[in-house]
Every structure is written in C-alpha cells, then in structure tokens.
Symmetry: C2
Subunit: 577 residues, 2 copies
C-alpha cells in the first residue's frame, strides 16, 4: 500500500497521456534539433477469438521490432525470444562509441513497445539454441549471467526468424581475440572505454615515447559506412574534446582506416567516395586502400598490400575495430541444413519472406535473402497462362492482360523497362519483332524468350541494412494482420505455375536513401534517384530523417536530441565508465 504523491500523479498522468500533450511539452523542453515526430497509431480491434495461432518471433532488432510494432490482429498469441530485452537504434552506434549520444538514448525496452498493444505478446530474454522445424519447436536458453542457465522449449504455428547476422572474421587469425566489433550496444560502450583507456595508458609516466605512439594508434578495418563513420567520430572526439584534456600527447594520435578494396564507401556514388577520401586526408586520417588484414596480434596488425604486389606489412596499434563482414549465427546454419539450404550465407526466402521449402517459417532482416524468381524459369508457364485461346501465339492484347501481374511478380521486368526508357512491355516485344504495328504483334514462345532474355539481369539483391529489415517487418505484420481476409480474397499476382492468385502482393523494397556521416558536421547522402548531397545540409537532413523513423519512440527521440544538446554545450565526457 502506498499513497501516491502529487508528483507521482502528475508524472503518471503525463506518461499515460496522448501524443499531443507530449509534443507540446517536448517542444517546450527541448531546444533545437528540429525534430519532426509523430505518434504511433495503435490499431486496436477488440473482438477476442477463441483459438489463437501461436507466433514465435526470434530477435528484437529492426525486423523483429518493426513486425511487433505493426502487428495488431488479436487472433495471434505472440512469444518473442531475444537475448536483448531492448531494441537498439543501430545507425547511432558509431555516435555511442565516442559519447556524442549515450547508449541508453538509443535503446527502447521491447516490453514498452508492446505494453499498450491489444495483441497478446509475451517476452523471454533468451537465446535460441535450435529450431526443430519438423516438430514446430524452438529450443531456448536464458543468457542471464548466472550459474544455472534456464532452458525451455516453445511451440509455434508460425515462426519468424529475425535474428540478424553476426560478425564475419573470414577466419583471420587473432581477430576475435584482439579486435573490437561494432554490432551491439555493449560493443560501442566497450570501444568508448577502450579509447579513454588508451589515452590514460599513454599518459602514464613510465611509458616510452614509441610505446605512446603505438597505444594512440587507432586502426579501423573496413571502409564501409560503419567503419567510416566510426573513424570520423573518433577524429571529432579527439580533436574537439580529448586534445584539451590530454595536451601532452595529442600530437601522437593517429587514426588509420584499412580497406581491402580500391576505395572506401564503395557502395556509394563515386562523388561521395572521392569527397570522403579527400576529407579524411585533410583531417589527417590515414586511408589505406588495397590493404587486406591477414593477421592481428595483441600489438600488431599484419596486412597484405595489394598495391605492392601482396607484400606483408606490419603496423603496431593500440586499439583495433573490425567493422567488415556479415556472418551467420550457428543455430541458423543448423536450421538451414535441416531444410536443405547448405553453403549459403543467409536463409533463402521467397518474395513473400517465407523460407523456401517450409510453409510456416518466415525469415527477414540480415539473416535472410529473398530469392527473386527469374522470369526465364517461369517463361513457359507465363506463356501458357497469357495465351488464353491456346493459339500458340501471344497477341499484345493477351499480353497486356497479364502485364500488371508479371510486373508485380517479377519486379526486374519493370526495372528493365525503366533502364531501357520504355513505358510499356509492348515496346519490348516490338523491339524483338522489328517495325511491325504494335497492335498486330504476335509472338510464339521462342520469340517471347528472346524478348525477355535480358530482363533477369536487372535482379537486385537487397543490402543488409536497417531500412530493408524495417520495411520487411512492417510488410510481414501487414500480411499477418490480414491473413484470413486475404485467404478469402487474395490480392497478389496470378500464380503462373498454379491456380488462382497469391494471397499477398510480394514484398517490395522502397529505397529512401543512405547516409554516411563523415565527421565535423558533414554528412554524405545518397538519395533515391541517385541524387547526391554532401555537407551540413545533409547532416540536418539525417537528423530529421532519423527523427521520423517509426521505430524510434518519443522517449528515444527526446533523449537523442537532449544528448546532442548536452554535447553541444559541454562536449563529450571522458570519464572511464
């Protein structure tokens, strides 16, 4: 029994209240940041149905959380299993390594996320050990640090695998033992402590000048967006904050970025790559391209220099961060071999995110790849379905009737037309038939094959990014929400190899752009339509894009903005905690 005080009551009223009130108060509380934010609509349908389907979700990353946030059909009973009881906004991880943003500001407890939902959701903080797809069971073990590890088994009707990927060291000796990674929140915190450690070690009176240089050499392996952003953040941390606190050793600091390829940020536009390389050179960050790490000992990194004919060079270092490679978790490997998917990096799914050769297992995010079906594999079926009068030839009219279904089922067709600047499939058919009148074109199967022969070259694999995972989660939740509805009234494309239509439209990724913060308030952005923006404006664009992510709660938005404000006023903290 406790008596609620006035403060309590106001605070509770506040927390339980709607978005408008919060928006009002936040606008008053937080200065700057330009946050555009909107509340999350909680779709609620009240009717309880007797028999609930058991859905087990593995993982609380981008894909899993986005699925849970959007699921609102109360006919499911959901059990979430994840070793982390929070969702982390991973694009801000490099900011956490240097204290620009606090770790706690980028995480959101998952229980908060589904607390107000009408769907029955249960959470267990545990790792998945094994999936038994034959018996529809998942074996789990609590990872809570304690002597006795609790083990338990969960049954499912539907299994959703969204466990992400782990780091791939490519079996390079010494990486696991000596390098830091940058996948989890704990990694970022550990890096932060280690950076300060290095500065404190180099300040000890007994350390030689040469040893100081070694300790203050920060090596980053991998010139992708994460490695580049970390290098930039570290450089900002050193030049803006640490030089004032460690004036005696500031000139000994060196940052090296090692990239095996010819350029850093190779997935971006050439202009961005050049800009980043130039900026890093001006900043004094040593960018070594064509440099492949072959071994890491406790004090030295050995690299193979492609430019010098594969010569092995050894560099002393103080801290090394490995930010390259995507690997598969062991229990996922085991599951893949159960369902006959061996020698793959990720679980193959169809365009509806369902794991191939299973009926009730879905996989999304970094642990999965969509196996887009090729037009050429189905060409005979397509021909047969389109040729309604069984004449052995297709008219343009017949073709146009199935055109939308083709473009929906095989998105590469649309991409191919776009690349050829054609508006219509008929143009493509015309191309293969020469200058015949459009309306009178008729093709046989061989001619259709020729017309579509290059279409499959436009197939694109989706990148392993937060954006993809998040969109997949939302998509899958929408499918689950309307499962019964779509069983009755399917809304997907025609089944060319079967009867009727697919229940759902296939997943389609919408690229919203990609950002690469380069330090010093400069950010490079590659936006849809290959539009490139570099500089301060992109930094603000990135802030506002961040603030609009649906995964981000009101709480984390406010915390991140207040962290930015703190950093602006007081600089970054260098306490070793």
């Amino acid at each position: 029994m406790r008596c609620f005080t006035f403060f309590d009551r106001v605070s509770r009223a506040f927390r339980d209240h709607g978005s408008n009130f919060k928006l009002l108060l936040l606008c008053t509380t937080l200065s700057g940041g330009g946050v555009l934010a909107y509340g999350e609509a909680i779709g609620a349908s009240e009717a309880a149905v007797p028999e609930k389907k058991k859905v087990v979700v593995l993982g609380t990353g981008w894909a899993g959380t986005s699925f849970l946030k959007n699921l609102n059909n109360p006919r499911y009973e959901v059990h979430v299993v994840s070793p982390r009881n929070y969702f982390a906004f991973t694009p801000l991880l490099p900011s956490v390594t240097c204290g620009t943003v606090e770790a706690r500001s980028i995480v959101e407890p998952v229980r908060n996320i589904f607390r107000k939902k009408t769907v029955d959701i249960q959470f267990s903080e545990a790792e998945c050990l094994k999936i038994d797809s034959a018996n529809r069971k998942v074996y789990c073990r609590s990872n809570i640090s304690n002597n006795e590890k609790e083990e338990f088994v969960v049954d499912y009707d539907y299994l959703i695998i969204a466990v992400g990927a782990n780091v791939n060291t490519f079996n390079t000796p010494g990486v696991t033992e000596n390098c830091h990674f940058l996948k989890e929140v704990e990694d970022a915190q550990k890096i932060r402590r280690t950076v300060i450690d290095c500065f404190e070690r180099a300040s000890l009176p007994s350390v030689s000048e040469e040893e100081k240089k070694r300790i203050l050499h920060f090596a980053i392996v991998g010139g992708g967006p994460t490695g580049v952003e970390f290098a930039a953040s570290l450089h900002d941390f050193v030049t803006e904050d640490l030089v004032n606190l460690y004036p005696g050793i500031k000139d000994l600091v060196k940052i090296t970025l090692l990239e095996a390829g010819d350029h850093i940020l190779s997935m971006f536009d050439k202009r961005i790559t050049t800009f980043a390389e130039d900026k890093f050179r001006r900043d004094g960050i040593d960018v070594k391209t064509g440099s492949m790490v072959v071994k890491v000992s406790d004090k030295e990194i050995s690299t193979k220099e492609m430019k010098n004919g594969g010569e092995i060079t050894t560099i002393p270092y103080g801290m090394a961060v490995w930010s390259t490679g995507i690997g598969t978790r062991p229990f996922i490997k085991d599951f893949m071999s159960q369902i006959g998917q061996t020698n793959r990096r990720a679980i193959a799914t169809d365009e509806w995110l369902r794991v191939e050769s299973t009926s009730n297992v879905y996989a999304l995010g970094d642990c999965a790849t969509i196996n887009q079906r090729k037009v050429m594999e189905d060409i005979a079926a397509i021909f047969k379905k389109a040729d309604k009068d069984n004449s052995g030839t297709l008219t343009v009219k017949e073709f146009q009737e199935v055109l939308d279904d083709i473009c929906e089922r095989y998105p590469q067709v649309g991409l191919y037309l776009k690349s050829k600047q054609m508006h219509d499939l008929a143009d493509l058919l015309k191309e293969s038939k020469g200058d015949v009148e459009k309306e009178s074109i008729e093709l046989n199967i061989e001619e259709l094959k020729t017309a579509l022969s290059k279409v499959d070259s436009q197939m694109k694999f989706l990148p392993a990014t937060a954006q993809v995972a998040s969109q997949q989660g939302t998509y899958l939740a929408q499918c689950f929400n309307r499962m019964e509805e779509c069983e009755k009234n399917p809304e997907g494309p025609i089944r060319f190899r079967g009867e009727g239509r697919h229940r759902f439209k296939p997943f389609r990724y919408k690229h919203l752009g990609q950002f690469a913060p380069l330090g010093g308030e400069q950010t490079a952005a590659q936006l849809p339509g290959d539009w490139v923006s570099i500089g301060h404006s992109s930094q603000w664009l990135w802030y506002s894009v961040y603030a609009r992510y649906k995964q981000v709660s009101w709480r984390t938005r406010a915390l991140v903005v207040s962290d930015w404000t703190r950093r602006f006023i007081f600089g970054r903290d260098s306490s070793q905690i």
Copy 2:
C-alpha cells in the same frame, strides 16, 4: 589539419565562455529543477617560482577533488594518482541503481577539473601499491585492463592520502562472492543490470512459482542512509515503472531490509527513524531489525535473530546488496604499520590533518580520523602558559587571555560550555569555586583540573561522510595555498607545549545537515541545530542543496536536472545495458 565549421566554432565559443552565458542558456534549456548554481572562481596567481614542491595526491574522491579544486598556489607541482579518472558525486549513487539518474551524469573527469587551473597538475590512472614514507616514494600500478600492468614510482615532498575506504564484510562467509556493494559507480550500474536480470529471469516460462518468488526477493543488508535510500529507490522503481512492464509477476516482488541494530537510520533523530520505519511498513518493505547476517550462499542468506535469542534463520533471495561496514585498503594498513599505527581502522592525524608521527604526509576523508587532543593531556602545559606571572595560581584575567586559543585548540571546551549553557569559561571556573565573585577567582592546577575534568567527554569523532571529506579537502588546500605566508605569520592557536603559535587554525567541521531520501518524493532531513524536516519540502531542499555543492560542475548539475526531467516524463529505462 581540419577546417572548423560554424557549428564547431559556436560550440567551442560556448564551452570556453563564462558562466553568465551558460546560466542564461541553461535556464532556457532546462525546465524545472529549481537549480541554484554558481560558477567556480578560479584563483589565479601568475608568477612562476623556480623550485616547485612536489605534492602527490592519492585519490579523486570527495577529499582529493575538493583539495585539487581549491589549490591555487602555482608553487606546487601536483601529481594525482587514482584508479578512476573521474570524480563521482556519491550521494546520488542509490539513484543510479534504479536509473533515476544516469551514471554519467554524476561523474566529472578529473582532467576537466584541473584543466583551467594555473597549478601544474599531472594525472595518472593507477592504483597505489605501497607508500615508502622513509624515502618519500609512492609505488603505483596502472589498473587499465590489459595484459601488461605498467608500474611506476613517484617521489613527493608532500603526500596527501585521500583514498577513501573499502567495504568491510566483517569476514562474513560468502559476502564477497554473492553480494553487491554500493561504493563505486560500477557497483551501481551492476545493481541496475541485476535488478532487470531478476525480473527477466522470473519472466521465463520454465521457472516455477516458488523460484520466481526467490528471484524477486531483494535483500539489503544494513539500515544506514545508503541501504535505506537504495531500498526506497528500488521500491519506487518497482511500483512506478516495472509493474507496468512485468504485470504477471509484480505481486511476487519483495524487498527486505536487514539491520543488526534495533532501528534503521540510527544516526538520525528518533523522529526520522520512526517515520522511516512506518513509511517502509506502509510501502510493504520488510524491515527486519536485530537481524545479523552470518552467512550468504548463492541463494540464501542466514541471519542470527537477536529478538529470538540468537536463532539462525535462512531466507532465500534473488539479489543481495551489502551496504554496511567501512574497511581499510591493504596498502593503507601497510603504511599504518610502517608509522607504528597498528590495530586501527583509519589513519590517525592531528587536528591539522597531518598524519601523526610524520612531517609531510596528510590524510583526509574516509581513510583518516582526527585524533583530537584531550585537554587533560595538556592541562599542565596550559596552566603553565596561562600563568604568566608564575604565581602558581590562575586569575580569571590571566585565563581569559588564553581563552580563545584554548577554545580553538580544544573545540570540546566550547561544546561543553554550550551544553552547560555557559557563555564564558569564567562561569565554569566559578562553578568549581562556589559563589565567589567572578573577578576574584583564583585557581591552582588541581582546581583547574577539576573545573575542566568533564570537558573531554564532549569530544566527537567525525562521521565518514562526503561532507567531512569535502570540507577537509578545502581546508587543506587553503593551508597549502598560504603555506609560506603562515610560516612567517602563524595564525593558529598558541602552542601550549611548545613555543610560538601553530601555523594554521585547526580543521573545524561545519555540519550542514544530513538527508535520507525515503522514496515517493519524501526525504527526511536532519539539519544543524537538530532541526528535523520530513516530507516533500525536504526533497526539494535536498535538490537545491545538491545543486549548491561546489564539487558539482555546471555540466553535472545540468545533466542531473535533465535526468530528473527525463524520468518525470518517460519513467525509468528497463533496458538491460
């Protein structure tokens, strides 16, 4: 080489700017909190003097930091050695355990503290291994987590020991292995993670009801201010935040406070003790007094129940926090045996904080106690000094001439007079001589002894609190600042046993009150003059007292207020990081 951006420049200008601008902006930025804050004056004397004295300071807690903050004589060359590169505002540690305040908000990097000082200060993050007082050397070892531990030796002219105390388990079996402590920032962070761990473990599907009850039983050993505040914070965390996130297990939570004595908060006024015990009873916190812990295993605590004739009871628990007992660090024990102070808990110093039987070592804070000199030890010397005409008797006039010196040198005299409601030492003399006219009193040595015989009963030992340590640090810095000045013109009391005067006035503690936050926005305060205040008003008093601490920087003040605001709006975070 880097080009500074506009943002950088503004941010730098801001950070390097004076207090008024910051105050202005902070008032705009932070809503609520009612912080009264003032800037720290940096005393600056520019003249450099050739031969600097080497001062080594061990520790960056309350005493050490307060010394460093107030030292401004550039004739010293200071080397600070501490295993922590930050100062922690320890009174807020219990708030950190439950996330009311973030760990980072209560710490301040020491390098920040002395960055702008004119005194030459060097910092090494290391532990002290051994003090060699004969050769004026300190042996240190870097505690940075790494394979090779750097060791080094520092010479000193003056040594200042301010290393605090460690936990005393009274050799109770199992405490070190199974209990959490609450001394350091890391301890508070670990407790926070463990609380969430317990809730997550108890939510696992495989755990039995009985086991859930055990896991959710939080036991706190020690009913002092820290234990009580932690119990209160934990109760608030559970009832205000966790019940919403873990609705299924909220009724299984139990908090027990074990105290060996008859009451909790026994150092406070009886009214506060009663109020706290009643409040805890209403809150459902089980307060077990007369319960002495004799053994702690991984799942059970064994206690000896004084009320039941010393019967041994065993209680299952999920998390145990040991917050009682003050112990001595091993190298301090070793140092004490070097200087012949064995079998003591803390280093004995004189009233000027100088370690007894040394000339250039000072000790302050929790690792030291002041050995207040007794009047009766010096009574003959006092008599001799006061009896200027060597008449063998003291007149009131003679006595009054040395009165101020006596009261300064032996503060118990003043306290005794106060307790007897006397205004003047003459009243005391009169008391022993009966109804003689004041002016004509004359005493011989035996009569003086009788008059002062009970004075020493008023001697008080200072508590091991942040307040004492902080005042001692300030005092010692002021002595060091004016060392040469006071050598020439001593300003202390007469040396009764020697010639001349003491250089400095002895350290005098000024008690500013003590707070005991009891949860639910209720705080008990015992203020100077035994004024007691309990309730919400004291909570705000505590907030404003906190904000006025000189140790607290602008940065930490703002961060704590913003944490309070965050908590008010969003509640406490339950992510396991």
